[in-house]
Every structure is written in C-alpha cells, then in structure tokens.
Symmetry: C2
Subunit: 201 residues, 2 copies
C-alpha cells in the first residue's frame, strides 16, 4: 500500500463504510478532499468535530438533534395539534419534515418488530410510546409499508387499545414494499392527509 501514509489509508477505509461509498469511491472522495484541503477538508473536519460534540438523541422522541429534548419536542407551535407521528427511523422523521406535514410531533421506534432478526418490543421504544400516548389526541402509525412495518403497527394498535387515543395509519398511496425515506414529498403529504382509522386486531 503506497497510497500515501497510514493516515490517508485509514481515512479511506472509514469513508468506505458509509452507505453509498465503496473502497473505490472512498479513494476518490479522499483525493477530492485533499485537493480541496482548505475549501472542503478542513471545514468537514471541523464540522465533524462539532457534530460529534453536539449530537445527541432526544430522550423524549428519539430524534437526532443537538439538544435533548429536541427542537421539535420543545416547539410550542407543535403542542396544539395533539398529533403524534410514529416512525421507524430518524430518516423517516426527516422525510416527513421535508414534506412539510405541519405542526406535529414524532416518536422514533428505532426499528420494527422482526422475530427472525431477534428484534422484539423491548428492543424498540414502544414502552416510551405507551407512556407518551395519553398526551395526544391522535397517533399516526407512519411505519414503512413492509410486512414488518405493518406487523409493528398492529402490535402497537393492540397495546394502545382502550387508551381512548385515536390511532390511524398513513393512507394507501405509500407503494407496497416501499420505504418512506425514498418517497417524494407530494406522495408523503397526500398519504398523511388521507390517513385512515386503524381497526384493532
């Protein structure tokens, strides 16, 4: 390995672990960075340092932010709607925010139920969700339209039965088998507007 020193080689190997980058594209990215040392590499290094120091997971909803509770949880304009949107992942929360779905709050499950992968209710933030539920008038289960996502939605509906909170899911319009983070903003907005009641069990 004569591709520069160990510092460069290590940087390539770490960048290659990012989604969407492999060993070859990581090498190109590192050369790109080195050529633009002052314009890109130094700012990126500083931004990463700051993010490492600042980033934390919101203890209320599971969102990623630089404060906990996060900006969304402490936003007074979002208090009135009474709408809690349950998502699998922070990427889905960000996708809904980009879609401009309005003054809502979120709950990040941290995944979906998947017995084959050994992921049960205790591996998700379902207990925290049950604890928060009473504070809202409606809970929208905005999970992916996959088998695991729908299984998780039914499980949560069962657990919330008798809580008096209205439970809905996103309208069909989300393509079957599709994932929220890949949808266009228009489809996401429409699916939220046309949300339908979830019938238990």
């Amino acid at each position: 390995m004569a591709n520069g020193g160990p510092e460069i080689e290590q940087l390539i190997q770490l960048l290659a672990r990012l989604p969407g980058l492999g060993p070859r594209s990581a090498r190109r990215a590192v050369l790109h960075l080195i050529k633009r040392k002052d314009a890109l590499m130094v700012p990126l290094s500083a931004a990463l340092d700051r993010a490492v120091a600042a980033v934390r997971v919101c203890e209320t909803c599971g969102n990623v932010d630089t404060v906990s509770p996060c900006h969304i949880c402490t936003d007074p304009r979002r208090e009135q709607s009474g709408l809690l949107i349950v998502v699998e992942d922070v990427a889905d929360l960000w996708a809904l925010e980009r879609a401009g779905v309005g003054a809502v709050r979120y709950h990040v499950l941290g995944g979906v139920l998947s017995p084959l992968d050994g992921i049960g209710p205790e591996d998700l933030t379902i207990e925290q969700l049950l604890g928060r539920a009473a504070g809202f008038s409606e809970i929208v289960l905005a999970v992916n339209a996959t088998v695991e996502g729908q299984t998780t939605a039914h499980y949560i509906t069962d657990r919330l039965a008798g809580s008096g909170v209205r439970i809905t899911r996103l309208a069909h319009g989300v393509p079957v088998g599709g994932e929220l983070d890949y949808l266009d903003e228009g489809t996401l907005s429409q699916a939220l507007r046309a949300r339908t009641a979830m019938d238990p069990g």
Copy 2:
C-alpha cells in the same frame, strides 16, 4: 429545516459535496454516522483531523503523502529502474501502484493541457518534469487516452526532444476515451509492459 441542529445540517451539506454523494445520500451517511457514533463517527472525525494535519503534496513528484518528498520518491529500490511514469492525477498514480507495475517513480502533472478551459503548460508541473527528466533513462507518458491527454503527451515529447531520454507511452490496450483510474489492474499492467516509443512531432 428541522433536520437536527445547524451542526448536523452543515455536516450534511459538506458531505454532499463529495463525489458520489448527493444531498439525499449525504443525509443517509450522516444518520449512519450518528447511529454508529463511537464505532464510526468518532474514529472518522479523528482520522480526518489527523489527515488534515499530516497530508502534504510531495514537492518532487506531486504525489499526496504524509511526508515530502513522498515515500515513493525516497524509496531506494525505485532508484535503480530509471523509469519515470508521468500521470495526470494522483488517482492515476494510485491506480498504477495498485496494479503493481514495479519499482518506478512518478510525476503528477496535475491535469492536462486544455485551451478551452484555459489550462496551459504553466498550470501543470511540466517545468518541474523537464528539470527531473535528465535523472531518468526512460519517461513513460501514462496520460489518459483522451484528446487532451494525447495532446499533452505530444507537447511533453516536443519539449523533451534532444534530452536523450527515451520517451514512451502506454501500449494501446487502454480503451480510447477511457480513464486510468477506472481500469482493471491486469489491463494496466499489460499496457505498461507493451509500451511503445513516442515519435516526436
């Protein structure tokens, strides 16, 4: 923009400027990093800090390394071959090293002549190449098989006329219009072995 705080947003925007990453994949990369904070984000941040501090451009050949002159220029095993390989870019140098072309030295031009883009001989390291040429028995012009690459090869051949140094180019075998960094190692090795003499003018 409620995608986390400004630290997260800035990190996304900087990562989106890497080749192969756009705004969407940069967001996914940042979430990937945050979820693996200790295993990936902190090491990447440290590696980037170290690389920023350590990386320098070799004042002899233009290679990127953590010392100048670089490891290749100071490698005594490479002194005997008398072979200098001229490449457009550091990525091409790395590609040739990966191909295991042997105990050679390099000269990175930093681009190719391109009058349309306003890139003339003074924007490349051609003067430095002329200064180094006498120390070698053979100079291989391993530029890309593009119009600009071949124009640059002919220009360098003209400038080196009368120097007594043998000037060669890579064998045909490099696909016309192709770029070195994308070739497989076998093709690169063969192209170097079958190099042919460059006839001036």
